[in-house]
């Protein structure tokens, strides 16, 4: 039997009981949009349950810093502490630095915070071993179980950092993804966006890994159904629902800091009674000029570096 024969056997096998193609581009695009939203700042870290999120975003001079903060090239616009931190950057020290500075603030509100879990990821969100930490696109530290979790993320991701906060807030409210969304300006002139959204895993089978979280609209939470009428979508279980309150600062075109608190609660009112860390404390962390990571190097495909063998090719090389 030849290669061609095996090919035919496999094709016959596949064709024998192949059902009609049930996916449609609208649904997949919606899933992609949800994924994009999740990546934009209110990602629910790691876990097995769906999440509803309350997000407060602080856009620090967004749109004017350009690509400066991430590489220090625009040092004149940056806090001297940030310039210094980037100059002295040592990826191996980041777990300790995050725990000391971010964990230290969190412990002011949560004395029994416990030990943090550090995670470094590449541009595709894959966890990377320590020998690659200096190439990381993201670093985070998380405390506690998903039922009540605190997380601080430092992330280089143009798709998540770019965009007008007010427009995003307005769009999220109009689409129902935002349960609450307000934009204010801090005393320092930073734009502050507060938002409430809901998310859960894209499908039940993926929930075990907690890798892919899905946003839910207000209507979906109220009805308990995602995409009503779509039999491929399972109902929303109340116990799956979590709320996340976060503060996010976009430092440049690619770099942002996100601080979040996650609580398991069936509705927003219940979640509001569970928050431990004041927004002001989260803002302190999110604006900490020392908590920065340099922009990751460019990989072979023109995209930010990814683990060997997992790279993608990009058409946009502007950084």
């Amino acid at each position: 039997m030849t290669h061609t024969d095996l090919t035919q056997i496999l094709r016959d096998h596949v064709a024998a009981d192949e059902p009609a193609f049930g996916l449609d581009p609208v649904r997949v695009s919606a899933a992609g949009a949800r994924l994009r939203r999740r990546r934009r700042g209110w990602q629910a870290a790691v876990g097995t349950l769906a999440v509803a999120a309350v997000t407060t975003t602080v856009l620090g001079l967004a749109g004017t810093l350009g690509g400066g903060a991430d590489d220090g090239a625009d040092g004149a616009r940056l806090d001297p502490a940030t310039v210094s931190a980037l100059g002295d950057y040592d990826a191996s020290r980041m777990p300790t630095l995050l725990d000391e500075r971010a964990g230290g603030v969190l412990r002011g509100s949560v004395p029994d915070l416990g030990a943090g879990t550090f995670r470094a990821t590449d541009d595709q969100g894959q966890r990377i071993p320590e020998r690659y930490w200096d190439k990381a696109s993201g670093m985070s530290i998380a405390y506690g179980p998903l039922s009540h979790r605190y997380e601080v993320r430092l992330l280089h991701a143009r798709s998540e950092a770019e965009g007008d906060a007010r427009r995003i807030c307005s769009d999220d409210l109009a689409s129902g993804y935002a349960f609450r969304c307000t934009v204010t300006t801090s005393a320092d002139g930073d734009t502050v966006v507060s938002e409430v959204v809901a998310v859960r895993a894209l499908d039940e089978q993926m929930r075990g890994g907690g890798a892919t979280w899905d946003a839910l609209t207000r209507q979906e939470l109220e009805t308990g159904e995602v995409l009503p009428g779509d039999p491929s979508q399972r109902p929303i279980l109340p116990e799956e629902v979590h709320f996340v309150r976060s503060v996010e600062v976009v430092h440049s075109e690619t770099f942002l800091t996100n601080v979040s608190e996650t609580v398991q609660a069936p509705d927003l009112a219940s979640a509001d009674a569970l928050w431990e860390v004041p927004v002001a404390a989260m803002t302190t962390i999110a604006t900490d000029p020392v908590l920065v990571i340099p922009r990751p190097p460019i990989g072979e495909g023109g995209c930010p570096w990814t683990l060997p063998g997992t790279g993608v090719t990009c058409s946009t090389t502007k950084r």
Binding site: H3, L10, E18, F21, L23, A31, Q205, G209, G301, V312
Partner: protein, 163 residues
């Protein structure tokens, strides 16, 4: 920037083939559809920055990565429970059931190699690139997979000759 209309066109043209690829790796159509949806959702996110000539490879890689990741998390799926060493299996007969059993007898990454090389007709080099492994590893996986498949599928005397 590439349009969503182009994404829809790609989706319509390539979606079914990508689902077949996923099916051969995960072993059931429902899961294959989930895998394909998740992979295409990720492609949608990356769509504006993926070069047109790379879209096919990106999608294939996304599907395989998604499938293998799922199988790593789902230790209880039937395909993951079947040992590679299937020497004790019942004598095979040339049926669809045996093809399914033969594929189930392969480790997930070997199934991915088989799917990419024999269903999708990808080269050793492209298969290596998609899976993030060396060409030598692709060849060894292929040889081992064929040896296992022979145990299950009657008349399968496949060799690497001609490839």
């Amino acid at each position: 920037m590439r349009s969503e209309g182009e994404f829809d066109e790609f989706f319509t043209a390539r979606g079914p083939a990508l689902r077949r690829l996923a099916y051969l790796v995960v072993g059931d159509w429902h899961t294959a559809e989930d895998v394909t949806q998740n992979a295409l959702a990720k492609l949608y996110v990356a769509w504006p920055r993926v070069r047109p000539e790379s879209v096919e490879a990106y999608a294939r890689k996304a599907v395989v990565n998604e499938a293998l990741s799922l199988l790593r998390r789902r230790r209880d799926v039937p395909v993951a429970q079947v040992r590679e060493d299937a020497a004790g299996a019942a004598p095979p007969t040339p049926s669809g059931t045996d093809v399914r059993a033969a594929l189930a007898a392969l480790p997930a990454q070997q199934r991915a190699v088989v799917a990419l090389r024999f269903l999708d007709d990808q080269s050793v080099a492209e298969t290596a690139r998609v899976l993030g492994i060396s060409e030598g590893t692709v060849k060894s996986h292929t040889s081992r997979a064929i040896a296992t498949l022979r145990l299950h599928v009657a008349d399968l005397v496949l060799s690497e000759e001609g490839r």
